[in-house]
């Protein structure tokens, strides 16, 4: 779901940086309000960021091939407002270590993964409605958030790629391109949804406080 360099026009790339800057500012401002000493939470947030970075390297078999997970929904579920900075940092490391994702498109990529992650996190916080005591409700929220995070990211990426490609595609081709990209990401979105549910249920049993990081 990364948009590489060279495809989108520079105005969109710069717009992506501006939007990512705004979202980072909003996230950090909210974190500072929520936590008495935000630096207390940095080692934990960083360690979890590193876990997500590493976990995204795991290949999940989807016969006859395999896919790697994006985990933006899961990042939102576990990290809450830290999700956007975590994804930004993760993308920075992907660019530094593997040269994946692009330099000019770092802002755009951060937005198309980070904003849906924040929404997935916000959706998961609705678990408070059940007093955070229903495993089924948590599982439904985790699946929905994670599925929508990937679907929304893929949809934004498809729109950006289709409408900014440096040659007119034509209405029918644009529609086909968007639908094809959406359909191609559907199995990944489903897998991510199921993966997030399995992980949330695991944490429910083993370490429930990890699901309440923001409420601390």
């Amino acid at each position: 779901m990364h948009i590489p360099d060279g495809i989108i026009p520079v105005s969109v790339a710069l717009g992506g940086y501006a939007a990512a800057g705004g979202m980072t500012w909003l996230s950090l401002a909210t974190i500072k309000k929520k936590f008495k000493n935000p630096r207390e939470i940095i080692p934990r947030a960083s360690l979890l960021t590193a876990v997500f970075f590493i976990a995204a390297l795991i290949h999940i078999p989807v016969p006859p091939t395999s896919v790697h997970l994006i985990l933006s929904g899961l990042v939102g579920v576990i990290l809450g407002w830290f999700a956007f900075p975590a994804i930004l940092v993760g993308l920075f490391f992907q660019a530094v270590m593997f040269q994946h994702g692009g330099l000019t498109t770092l802002g755009v990529n951060a937005c198309l993964m980070g904003i849906p992650a924040l929404l997935a996190g916000a959706l998961f916080r609705l678990r408070a409605l059940s007093g955070a005591k229903s495993r089924v409700f948590d599982a439904v929220l985790a699946f929905t958030g994670s599925f929508l995070a990937i679907a929304a990211g893929a949809f934004i990426a498809a729109m950006l790629l289709t409408y900014t490609v440096p040659a007119p595609l034509g209405a029918a081709a644009e529609r086909t391109a968007i639908i094809s990209l959406g359909v191609a990401h559907l199995p990944v979105a489903l897998l991510e949804g199921v993966f997030t549910v399995l992980l949330v249920l695991f944490l429910w049993r083993v370490k429930p406080e990890l699901l309440e990081m923001e409420e601390k």
Binding site: I31, I42, A86, L210
Partner: protein, 252 residues
């Protein structure tokens, strides 16, 4: 992951001695000027500049090839779709498919821009460790929280990669092949275990760091002081970037 390249580039090459902030600004300016280009006539000079910088960096061409292969797949997909899906000027007919001029031009533009920017990205990151980049970005105004997250994440990634490898080996010894969809549950538990272990560790790390004074003072990031040569190189890089932008806007 990055260590072999760091060793490879430990040389007297000025590109690796270029002060990080100046190098970041200089190379990013060129990268963004490449992103500005829309005219095919500017593609050869762009490719020439990228190639010159890459060759000057003394990074092996095999390194470029090994890195570009995976993201190159995306490019390949575009190269297969765009010539037949975009544009209106028909160049050739291949059965029911029509190859169009505008689509071909778009593929050429995207490919050369991608390959050129990729070369500069390799040069920028191959010789600069993440903690140095983070320190330089902090000096350039990146929020302290974000900078500290970068430094901590850099510290943990290698350790966790080792943990994951050990866990996967242990799972393999117990007969886990991970070759079917049913492996999803096991993989979720592996990541869950990694999360729980990391969380517990982060508590201990935080307590140990607090005892040593973390949180009382702002973190300090040491960066190299620029010399005249760094500024001169930056001025040259900015001139190159400006030339591309002006050529695109004025002449094309």
């Amino acid at each position: 992951m990055i260590a072999p390249v760091m060793k490879m580039t430990k040389s007297a090459n000025p590109l690796y001695r270029w002060e990080t902030r100046h190098k970041l600004i200089g190379l990013l300016a060129i990268v963004f000027s490449f992103a500005f280009i829309r005219d095919p006539l500017l593609l050869p000079p762009m490719l020439a500049v990228a190639l010159a910088v890459y060759l000057y960096s003394r990074l092996p061409l095999t390194y470029y090839w090994s890195r570009v292969r995976l993201p190159g797949i995306f490019l390949l997909v575009l190269a297969l779709i765009l010539p037949f899906g975009a544009g209106s000027t028909i160049l050739a007919r291949l059965g029911p498919l029509e190859m169009k001029l505008e689509g071909l031009q778009a593929v050429l533009l995207i490919s050369v821009k991608f390959l050129s920017i990729y070369a500069l990205m390799l040069v920028l990151f191959a010789g600069t460790p993440p903690y140095k980049l983070a320190g330089s970005l902090r000096k350039m105004g990146l929020p302290a929280l974000l900078t500290e997250m970068i430094v901590f994440t850099d510290r943990y990634i290698y350790q966790l990669a080792g943990d994951l490898r050990r866990t996967q080996v242990a799972a393999g010894l117990r007969g886990f092949s991970g070759r079917s969809l049913t492996a999803l549950k096991t993989l979720a538990y592996i990541v869950g275990t990694l999360l729980v272990r990391s969380h517990d560790q982060s508590e201990r790390v935080f307590q140990a760091m607090t005892l040593r004074g973390y949180g009382r003072e702002q973190a300090v990031f040491n960066v190299d002081q620029p010399v005249f040569g760094d500024r001169l190189a930056l001025a040259f890089a900015l001139l190159v970037a400006l030339t591309f932008i002006l050529l695109q806007h004025i002449f094309f």
